[in-house]
């Protein structure tokens, strides 16, 4: 067991030595891996944060029901009675047209406009809260309400949140594809780096083979090289994203003051970072394995 562990330790030392000899080649590969991994990581973090914001700031879905202009007080009462007995409605609030007009007049800048009107242009309205907040239920209720007499318009006021959610879902799908494409790019970078390593150490590989080394023995330092390349590349991506967040957050502080919403993006969670390092190391190892396998196959 000790001999086995020593063999792995020697392979790791060889891999680390090769990382710095020559240093520039490895540095270029590391920067390429780091920037390649940083892109989907940053996008993922932003989408995750937007999702959190949407969940936090989108209120419970409410339905705004507007009566027709010519609806009478009796018809308004009838609609209210229907809402009282409706199984899908948890609560509602009435806004009579006169009250709405007074509220409008009270707003700065609107008083003069309202004073010029000969009659109240606003309809009677209800703000309805539902028991079930699902999109399907809201749509069904909206259709039902529209069919009621003297109901002019029914609006579901969470439309913007749903649109944003759809956009985020689209973003997540695009991110998945991007991450897949960039994972292949990382594989290709590691593959190419190890091919160069194999070329540089071709004599050594040949000699090892002639002295009775198994493919496992020959492959081992290259695998460690791939793992280390992936790990450091992942670390660079982590650092790049963290640095970008610091810069972005400085700008977002000003923006958040305007909208009164805390817009700053939190730092990369530790589990995300560790997951990134693991994924990068696995990609590095896989790229190295494929690369050495190709070299050994060609040599054979």
């Amino acid at each position: 067991m000790k001999t086995y562990l020593c063999a792995h330790w020697r392979a790791l030392k060889t891999a680390l030595y090769r990382l710095y000899h020559p240093p520039l080649m490895s540095l270029v590969s590391l920067l390429m891996i780091g920037t390649t991994l940083a892109l989907p990581l940053a996008c993922g973090l932003i989408i995750h944060h937007l999702q959190t914001l949407t969940n936090t700031y989108s209120p419970h879905p409410q339905i705004n029901l507007f009566m027709a202009q010519d609806a009478s007080a009796t018809q308004f009462k009838q609609i209210e009675q229907r809402l009282q007995t409706h199984a899908g409605v948890s609560s509602y609030r009435t806004i009579p047209r006169a009250q709405a007009l007074e509220a409008m007049k009270a707003r700065t800048g609107w008083a003069d406009i309202m004073a010029g009107l000969t009659q109240n242009p606003l309809p009677d309205a209800f703000i309805i809260s539902t028991i079930d907040h699902s999109a399907a239920t809201l749509d069904a209720l909206r259709t039902e309400l529209l069919a009621w007499p003297k109901v002019s318009t029914v609006q579901v006021d969470t439309e913007w949140a749903r649109r944003l959610d759809s956009l985020l879902r689209l973003g997540r799908s695009a991110l998945g594809l991007l991450a897949g494409a960039l994972a292949i790019t990382v594989l290709a970078i590691v593959f190419q780096s190890i091919q160069l390593q194999c070329m540089n150490h071709r004599d050594e590989i040949d000699v090892q083979g002639l002295l009775g080394a198994t493919n496992t023995f020959i492959r081992r330092p290259f695998l460690y090289f791939g793992y280390v390349l992936g790990l450091i590349g992942g670390g660079i991506a982590w650092g790049l994203v963290s640095a970008t967040l610091i810069v972005l957050n400085t700008e977002l502080v000003q923006l958040s003051a305007l909208y009164d919403i805390p817009l700053s993006i939190p730092p990369l969670p530790l589990e995300w970072g560790l997951g990134l390092l693991c994924a990068a190391a696995i990609l590095g190892g896989l790229g190295a394995y494929l690369s050495v396998a190709r070299h050994l196959w060609n040599t054979k």
Partner: protein
Amino acid sequence: MPYLIPRPHMNQISLNNVFHRYPGGKEVLHNINLTIDAGERICLIGSSGAGKSTLLRLMAALEQPYSGTVIVAGHNTSTMSTSELPYLRRQCGLILDDVKLLPNHSVMAHVLLPLDIAGIDRQSAQAQALSVLETVGLNQYTEHSPMSLSGGDQQRLRIARAIVHQPILLFADEPTTNLDADDAEAIGALFRKINLSGTTVILASHDRQLVTQFKPRLIELNHGKLRA
């Protein structure tokens, strides 16, 4: 793990009706029948192009015959799997042009390599490597690059690397080429010493001094055929 265990045998190497030719080339070996027993010292002789090196490479399992069978340490080199081959190689020592010296490895690293491959623990390996370097007279150059050594010392290093894991078979192709008379004599003495320790030594050479000094069983090749 397909560890190769030497099977009981008297004949360490046996070639039966071996023919060999390179793709698109002419026949290099013609109907070779040959047995080599454990502990023998053999010298393959013949003019340039007679097929000495090819025969040596077939016996070292570096190549497979075009037809016929080559049995080394009880294993048919044509039918053994690629995963078994490394374990056969570990029973052989090779002093061939293919087994190059590596410029960025020290003398000690060269000698440690076969022991690392064999999975010997580092402490024993270092002791064994030092002992072999002492045998070949390179113990004062352990940290030197092989490129800083003389031709004779480089050949000693190749020998040290080939014998450090105590192989049962040692193959050497023209081991005294480019060496002066003194170095060649020293190398010859070294081969004799290795053979006396029980290793079967098979050389391919047309160095008369080495042949005289080594006193081997001579196997003469002429245009790919064994001379009776």
